[in-house]
């Protein structure tokens, strides 16, 4: 059964009935392999590859104890970026991004639960409290206080912590009504500097662990990691998605993903929902790329631009003869 329809040069082509030439497919593939292998080995010998050491909670808190403490108090009082993130970490209202009225983030729900107060502060402190009577007392005082009292202590500490100084193993804050919070944050900073917080925050781990959700979120809430990234041009508003550390080439193929973040309206009125809007746009463009054969106009570009006349010039020349 066959159907005859109008010829569309952007969709159809008559089968080739012209001359064939000998061609050694396997030989060509082997030559291609050798060429690429030599190229890759050459590039690896010439340039190597980058390996910037990971930041640890230990290295962060040792390099900048005040930044660590400033982040820790926001994790305790639930005002950090992670604590107010929304799904998939927690159910913070109105935190999810939307396309129009639809929030895919909210629909997907909380599947990677993170409670920063417990997971980043109280939980780790509880593991070291047995060795530290002062801390045990501070935690007991904190837990027995009502929510208003806790909030007052936390707010007072958050106001003063930027002026804190790390001295002789203690975080010294200007005097204020912090209750047990100052002791707790100072103890957490010591714990961080010892390296114990790095291991205790690995998720789903009972000895073995490969899920670093919590420690990564904690580190990313501070300014240390971001400072290192920005100095290497990896920031979101620096087209960072395309870049690599040092002078290495990065991921040039991500140009279209990062470009939208740099332009209006994604960096202006739509910035609150920029992520989901950029992703949605990129999905549409990716589908357009996949379905080019069916898209009139788009599939006519090859014919209009005439690059094919160069590619097939020998064929056209020999057909004229």
């Amino acid at each position: 059964m066959s159907r005859v329809r109008r010829f569309n040069p952007d969709r159809d082509v008559s089968p080739w009935k012209g001359p064939l030439r000998p061609y050694d497919l396997l030989k060509e593939v082997t030559v291609a392999f050798r060429v690429v292998a030599v190229l890759v080995v050459g590039l690896a010998v010439l340039f190597g590859s980058p390996d910037e050491k990971a930041v640890t909670i230990k290295s962060w808190s040792s390099a900048n104890a005040v930044d660590f403490a400033t982040t820790a108090i926001t994790e305790l009082d639930g005002t950090s970026a992670t604590a107010t993130y929304g799904p998939p970490y927690n159910a913070t209202p109105d935190a999810s991004q939307k396309i129009g009225p639809i929030s895919l983030q909210k629909i997907a729900g909380v599947h990677q639960p993170v409670n920063t107060t417990q997971d980043f502060v109280l939980g780790p402190l509880t593991t070291i409290a047995p060795q530290n009577p002062t801390l045990t007392g501070a935690l007991a005082t904190f837990r027995s206080a009502d929510d208003k009292q806790k909030a007052d202590w936390e707010a007072a500490y958050e106001t003063s912590v930027a002026k804190a100084e790390w001295m002789n193993g203690v975080l010294v804050v200007p005097p204020g009504a912090y209750g047990p919070v100052a002791t707790m944050i100072s103890s957490l900073t010591s714990m961080a500097q010892s390296g114990a917080l790095d291991t205790s925050m690995v998720d789903q781990a009972h000895f073995y662990g490969t899920n670093y959700t919590k420690s990564l979120l904690f580190v990313a809430d501070g300014t240390y990691l971001e400072g290192l990234a920005t100095s290497q041009h990896l920031g979101g508003d620096q087209w960072g998605m395309m870049n690599e550390t040092g002078s290495f080439p990065g991921q040039a193929w991500l140009w279209a993903y990062t470009m939208w973040y740099q332009v209006w309206p994604f960096n202006g009125p739509w910035s609150a929902n920029a992520d989901v809007l950029v992703w949605a746009l990129m999905m549409v463009l990716t589908l357009a790329l996949i379905f080019v054969p069916y898209l009139p106009g788009l599939r006519s570009i090859p014919r209009w631009t005439r690059v094919y006349r160069i590619i097939w010039r020998e064929h056209y020349r020999s057909s004229k003869v």
Binding site: S2, R3, V4, F7, P9, D10, R11, D12, V13, S14, P15, W16, G18, P19, L20, R21, P22, Y23, L26, V29, A32, V35, V36, V40, L43, A44, G48, S49, K53, A54, P88, Q105, I107, A108, V110, T210, Y212, T213, L216, L217, L225, T245, A252, W253, D275, W279, L289, I290, V292, P293, R299, I301, P302, R303, V307, Y308, I311, W312, E314, H315
Partner: protein, 226 residues
């Protein structure tokens, strides 16, 4: 005198024709006979270097997978502590860069040839999906480096991925999950898609040039059976 035609060995006996195996063999051989799978001739219009880029992409992919395999032999943190490991990591990185380099040029070439013409839509589409999947495979590789780069990339990428709801299930901060996607699931998918793409190319052949009429314009006066 009567002559009997010799029986085609690939054709099933009448009583076996309903078998799944017999039907599958028939369908496969009809679409991909040996001379299409491994041709020794090609149309004369293939005379530009742009035609080499598919093979170059494939070669780079093979090296990506081979170097990835070597990295797998010693585990994901070997390259931080061994100069041999660092060199193999460099081979893996540069073969990925080479693969995207050749793949994009291959895409440009095929686009300007309108290589989807003549029932070759699936060839184009499998190629485009392979491209998109490769980007995902590369991403899971970047977050599996167990260094500063993977920390930054994962904590940044989480926002985009979480905003779509996918982050609830695809947790870029979960190293174990990302590594397994990178070394098991995505290579399988990329391999399968590449295989399908290659089979489509072999089945339909390389797209012929635009036909030009006597005035040198693209001709439309052709009836084509579908």
């Amino acid at each position: 005198m009567t002559t009997t035609t010799p029986r085609d060995p690939a054709a099933p006996l009448p009583e076996d024709a309903d078998q799944w195996t017999a039907k599958a063999r028939g369908a496969l051989l009809e679409r991909l006979p040996a001379e299409k799978l491994l041709p020794d001739r090609q149309p004369a219009y293939l005379s530009s270097a742009i035609y080499l880029f598919g093979a170059l992409t494939l070669a780079a992919l093979v090296i990506v997978m081979a170097t990835g395999g070597v990295l797998a032999l010693e585990g994901p943190t070997w390259w931080h502590v061994s100069s041999t490991g660092l060199f193999v990591n460099s081979l893996h990185l540069w073969s990925v860069e080479a693969m995207f380099f050749f793949m994009v040029i291959h895409l440009w070439g095929k686009f300007f040839m309108a290589a989807w013409r003549g029932n070759r839509q699936l060839t184009w589409m499998t190629g485009a999906v392979t491209f998109a999947t490769s980007i995902g495979a590369a991403f899971t590789g970047y977050v599996s480096q167990t260094n500063f780069d993977s920390q930054w990339i994962s904590t940044q990428a989480k926002d985009g991925i979480n905003s779509t709801g996918i982050g609830a299930f695809f947790n870029v901060l979960n190293f174990g999950q990302m590594l397994m996607w990178h070394i098991v699931l995505l290579p399988l998918v990329v391999g399968l898609l590449t295989g399908l793409h290659l089979l489509m190319v072999r089945r339909r052949g390389i797209v012929p040039p635009f036909a030009l009429d006597a005035n040198g314009k693209v001709s439309r006066d052709v009836e084509v059976e579908q």
